[in-house]
């Protein structure tokens, strides 16, 4: 299979549609069933669904999750404080996809945690606790996005998900003996001094932070959850309800763009040096 082929008709999955079948959960009671996020959107109950978020081989993680749940249900405040502190940044990042201000994102995350507090006793452990929290957030975010009449940006991504990630003019043409390999001018050059260099580190951090903000929302979200917040690909897929291929394409395109921004930064330095 050609690694560059057949990405044209990428299915954007339910993540791309603002809300396929109306709000699945009323804003007041935003505790979704753990196995479905969209009404009628999943396979019939008779068909066993793969559950990528609960890898059965990872017994240790399952045990940690069960223990965390026990502590929470026992009213252990420190356990709640810890997940609020650990997970809120990634929840805020995700919430920001649905609304136009940081303040609204804060409200969605706060509502999410309140729903978690109220719904904890009903959680059945069929997903990880964190995936369940994410799903509550996604439901709240979707209905909030609709309420604010903000066109949910998740549907406007098609064009960003296609085409080469590196400018084709950097490669030799099809009639060249070394067709589709780098031209001498197009080949990437080492970054020197290293981004670690004390003189550059601050500036580069700024470049990366700004570039992340300019990524299309879905790419920004997937890159953030993976590379800033350290979620696994499986967890991102279940949290956002996207396919593994979709996740990887968004990650790939987002990362490739950020690399390009850094490359441009280095090339700009050469010019001005």
């Amino acid at each position: 299979m050609s690694p560059t082929g057949s990405r044209g008709g990428l299915s954007l999955g339910s993540f791309a549609s603002p809300d396929g079948g109306g709000p699945s959960v009323a804003p007041e009671t935003p505790v979704p069933d753990e196995t479905t996020t969209e009404p009628g959107g999943d396979a019939p109950a008779a068909v066993p669904m793969p559950r990528p978020w609960s890898d059965p081989s990872d017994d240790a993680a399952a045990e940690r999750d069960a223990q965390l749940l026990r502590r929470l249900r026992a009213g252990e405040e420190a356990a709640f404080a810890q997940i609020v502190d650990d997970w809120s940044p990634m929840l805020l990042r995700t919430a920001r996809t649905f609304v136009s201000t940081d303040a609204s994102a804060q409200e969605i995350v706060q509502e999410t945690w309140l729903a978690v507090v109220k719904g904890l006793d009903r959680f059945e452990g069929r997903s990880t606790l964190r995936t369940w929290v994410f799903r509550i957030l996604m439901n709240l975010g979707r209905s909030r996005g609709v309420r604010e009449a903000r066109s949910v940006p998740l549907s406007s991504f098609g064009p960003d998900d296609n085409g080469p990630t590196v400018d084709p003019s950097r490669f030799r043409g099809a009639d060249d003996r070394h067709a589709h390999n780098w031209t001498p001018a197009g080949a990437p050059q080492p970054w020197e001094p290293s981004p670690e260099d004390a003189l550059l580190a601050g500036e580069i951090r700024g470049e990366v932070g700004r570039a992340l903000e300019t990524l299309p929302a879905r790419q920004r979200l997937v890159v953030s959850l993976r590379d800033v917040h350290g979620l696994s690909s499986d967890e991102v897929c279940s949290a956002l309800d996207i396919s593994a291929v979709n996740q990887r394409v968004l990650l790939h395109r987002g990362r490739a763009h950020l690399r390009k921004v850094l490359e441009d930064y280095y090339r700009g330095r050469e010019v001005t040096a």
């Binding site: 709640f80 805020l92 589709h180 780098w182 990362r255």
Partner: protein
């Protein structure tokens, strides 16, 4: 002999830059992995490209994150206390 494909030469640089994420994710099969690695050994441009992707991922990992406001956090802790009284 001369008809044998040279390892690393059946994949082009245009393909390498699009397969790099799958490669880093460990999502390529053994044959493709070997081909990618043979190519990287032969091609400084692609080798730099992969290094730069790794570097980019590392740098993104240091982007500062936003947290919940202290006031919101306090409200949540109060709500937790209300709903989940510790067993005594």
């Amino acid at each position: 002999m001369s008809n044998q494909p040279v390892p690393g030469m059946t994949i082009t640089c245009t393909e390498i830059v699009e397969v790099v994420t799958e490669y880093l994710e460990g999502q390529v099969d053994e044959a493709l992995r070997a081909e990618v690695e043979a190519h990287l050994a032969l091609c400084p441009g692609c080798d730099h490209y992969l290094d730069q992707m790794r570097e980019t991922i590392r740098l993104v990992g240091r982007v500062p994150v936003e947290s919940l406001s202290d006031a919101a956090r306090d409200d949540l802790m109060a709500a937790f206390r209300t709903f989940h009284t510790p067993a005594t």
